[in-house]
Symmetry: C2
Subunit: 335 residues, 2 copies
DNA sequence: TTGTAAGCGTTATCAT
DNA sequence: ATGATAACGCTTACAA
């Protein structure tokens, strides 16, 4: 915990000015002899440049923030896992914010960007930005990349996925297996994914010519225990031959519930999760799941942000990651 | 992305000196009237203090770094999940480093603390610090808390667990179930947990009066696929009636392998994982697992660091988290 | 090529 | 109570 040397210390030790030290350290043209003296002094003293001083001067922190609802959720873990190495390779540190899906927290993250502790922000809002806060997004003090959808014309880089198509893929798959009574276990409707998936479910049913039956729909939360409770509630009043779950955690909970009710998966009830997390292959039977490309979305978001940091003036970009259906035992029986 | 206002801007707007602005902003005694003017100006301009300037002056970043091998590993996720809210509550940001278990990366994290981008570091080294690097730890430019064991007398705060006891609990449990041929699937021996668990396994066997049979031991890596391969190798040359796995990922892989070999769990082979991650309850049968208190270790580490940041002079503390055995279906049959 | 000095946005000391 | 000013550690004109 020794007090570290500064360029002043080195300058004294090497017998040159601080300007020369700075030049050598930054590789600017300098006399061979001076370089040697400075390097020697720096080495001996174990010099390390001070980040605060550097960023005060350069207006660059070489930090990027990532904000999401819950680092315990495998979806976000997948994102972080991709974001981290991309940033690291580019010389950026990663600052992690967990907002618990709280709108105020999310807005706070946005506002505190004004402290300039980070050069940019990747945010995956769960509750989303109400209309009145869009200007906060647009006028953010640093570049922001949003993972998830933002309203048309919001001038920020954006990585989205098409959950509508994802849900459709799932329902078509189940329909193709002969299932006609397809239930849906959703997360809160006031969340962005919750709302999107609810709409997508209704639409996909219609496209398949299936009736919408409110008894087949339950809203809970994006957690396993909530998923189990929702499944129990649903099973109390109807007997679906398939269940679509708004994420893998819910699906895992549904699996618990189905097991308790002695219903076989997939024979009695076919089960589909969403997000295709590692939990899908840990479960038994392994879970068919709609991949929304979390890892790829994370990576693309990091890349977009780095691009933006190099060229702040470029037009906002929207990247769309296509969903895919990963079929496993929970709908097809074989392992 | 507007250029933010500084205290200079505010001072001009309010018609006072920057010193007064600073005082008001920091709640130092000031005339009512001045306070009003400054606050008004600050509000109108949407002032946010600059983090770099502040930390240059105060030598405080209000950031804490956490370095571990792989954010994809549920053990570390559990730690981050606990560390984050503790830091947040104390007004600190979290900087995340993923080292891939690379020794150089770990040492680099330690060295770069000298940049003073963080006030302290929590590190969970996978490969550990060779003797020659202990001075780097001892002489770190900022307080460090190590999760995992450090050699006696290393002057850093330390949160450890007793994996020896953990392994013993597992073997005693298996022994109590009548298992006598207990195999062991370990991770790399040049990692701290790998080495510790290998020694613990040998000791625990001896304590139970069971012979050590090299055919019952396989070394792989801490991943699922590696666990599956290791299990296959082991099963090719011996038929254990129980398997202890050095973590839950390996256990999951072992489960895959056992299933392929048509061996029933727990009837033919009882299976025990370590770390007690969420994967243990996602798997089927659910996994008996040795909890090493990852969440608690994370939380305690964060608390130790915060304490240290308040009182840098206090004697180094060692916190030990007791392991517990969480018995589930993979050893006891019932769900 | 090198040194002097200004400035990044704060906080804090010192006069006033 | 307030203002002028130095200082934090660095980069970068500008002069020499």
């Amino acid at each position: 915990m020794a007090q570290g040397p500064t360029i002043t210390t080195i300058a004294a030790r090497a017998g040159v000015s601080i300007a020369s030290v700075s030049r050598v350290l930054n590789g600017l043209p300098t006399r061979e002899d001076t370089i040697r003296k400075v390097m020697a002094a720096a080495d001996e003293l174990g010099y390390v440049p001070n980040a605060a001083a550097r960023s005060l001067k350069s207006n660059r922190t070489y930090q990027v923030a990532f904000a999401m609802a819950d680092i315990g959720n495998p979806t976000y873990v997948a994102m972080v896992r991709e974001i981290q190495p991309v940033l690291k390779a580019a010389g950026y540190r990663l600052v992690l914010h967990s907002t618990d899906g709280d709108v105020d927290d999310e807005l706070d993250v946005l506002r505190r960007l004004g402290e300039r502790y980070a050069d940019g922000l990747i945010i995956s809002p769960l509750r989303g930005f109400a209309q009145q806060h869009l200007d906060l997004l647009a006028g953010a003090p640093a570049p922001v990349v949003v993972i998830g959808s933002v309203p048309q014309d919001t001038p920020v880089d954006n990585v989205r996925t098409d959950s509508r198509t994802g849900v459709r893929l799932a329902l078509e798959h189940l329909y193709g297996l002969g299932r006609r009574s397809i239930g849906f276990l959703n997360g809160p409707l006031d969340t962005i994914p919750g709302a999107a998936r609810a709409a997508a479910y209704t639409d996909a049913l219609a496209a398949l010519g299936l009736p919408y039956d409110p008894d087949l729909v339950e809203v809970g939360d994006f957690y396993r225990a909530a998923g189990a409770r929702a499944a129990h509630r649903l099973l109390e009043r109807s007997r679906p031959d398939a269940l679509l779950c708004a994420n893998d955690l819910i699906a895992l909970g549904a699996l618990d519930a189905l097991r308790e009710e002695r219903l076989r998966v997939p024979e009695d009830v076919a089960l589909v999760g969403m997000d295709d997390t590692e939990l899908a292959t840990a479960a038994w039977p392994t879970l068919t799941s709609v991949s929304l490309g979390s890892a790829e979305r994370g990576r693309r978001a990091a890349e977009l942000l780095l691009d933006r940091l190099e060229d702040g003036a470029a037009a906002p970009r929207i990247v769309t990651v296509e969903p895919t259906l990963v079929v496993r035992a929970s709908t097809e029986g074989a392992s």
